[in-house]
Symmetry: C3
Subunit: 159 residues, 3 copies
Amino acid sequence: MDLESTVRALEKRVGELEDRLAIYQLMYTYGPAADSGSAKAAAHLWTADGVYDVADVAAMTGHRELEQMYEGKTHQALIHKGAAHLTASPHVVINGDRAVATCYSFVFAHEDGNYKVWRVSSNRWDFVRESAGWRIKRRTNRLLDGSEQARAILGRAVE
Amino acid sequence: MDLESTVRALEKRVGELEDRLAIYQLMYTYGPAADSGSAKAAAHLWTADGVYDVADVAAMTGHRELEQMYEGKTHQALIHKGAAHLTASPHVVINGDRAVATCYSFVFAHEDGNYKVWRVSSNRWDFVRESAGWRIKRRTNRLLDGSEQARAILGRAVE
Amino acid sequence: MDLESTVRALEKRVGELEDRLAIYQLMYTYGPAADSGSAKAAAHLWTADGVYDVADVAAMTGHRELEQMYEGKTHQALIHKGAAHLTASPHVVINGDRAVATCYSFVFAHEDGNYKVWRVSSNRWDFVRESAGWRIKRRTNRLLDGSEQARAILGRAVE
């Protein structure tokens, strides 16, 4: 390959590495935003019409509904007792301006001086690239309680 | 450095970054494959002669033995009650077409509506680069139950 | 952009990716060093004057105090019963030769044949680049027990 072609190919490869690490960073921003009660920052990880679908709890659409959840009594009580919303082991597939991540999420909750593993879920995050960077278009969270739906989210990543 | 030398050095550096992120991706594929019961996908993360050595449970060699374990009663019962096989905090050292990762693995198991931290292990993964990409040559898993073996796996990474 | 400018810009971008992955690697070295009882390796993740501030336990300054903690009775008893010090979901911001990471840390402790989630903390790591690579200048660990301080560490990352 001549030098110019090599450089153009490198630009593309570096862009893909940057995308992958930007998506890790976005996913690793979720916990700090949620657990500090930074409702606006948490909500704005999504697109303006973004969806957070947590089947056994609720489905929220758009920044206002998301902010209201993070400002709501249930979430505030949880983080004021002490909680960690952990996003773990992101499997990421990028396709131009779209990307999908499959991972686990956990909620560890502080109760009476001990920590309880409160929620363990499988997650699919659908991302889009906006002018300001990657945002969540839809996040689907299913409790790993033996349901077929929760396993199916994980299975799609390895088909 | 002249431009051509800089470009050749960059190619090498970008290749190393790609390798590291490909190894993260491989390791983060394990959980989704195991917990969705995708026995073939899980087994094929290993080389054809790959070994999964879980001292306190079993040692499996090759795709067929690995598939049989993921299709077996114990594993199937676990994932049908709800389980998360988490691979966490990969410390990765790459050396050409070989690489070693040291990390923790956890199994969170759903039982009677609660989640239990069932297994916590130290792990060493030996990888080789094949024509289709990185594969596991050997994975060694030792329960962190106070045994010297489990600590030794972690110690090797920081010698 | 002409070819030379493109190459210079790529060098900078690749350097930033390498920094980010080097910081992940440093953070993912902590657990293996601590849980294998590699006191010297653990201590030397910090700068010579580095601080580990764990408000509810102690504050250590410099390699000697850090080594003494990892060699001390409490830590040794913990790892000889079986423990996993997990560093999880690093949110990393790099600024030249300084960097800050915000993440969760967990201690899973083996007790009577079971695993207990013993500690769940928010963490801020301040790094500096030394001639030998990135080191920890200060690590601040606050138990997520409902305290404002623990939430504030997470909140700073998303301001």
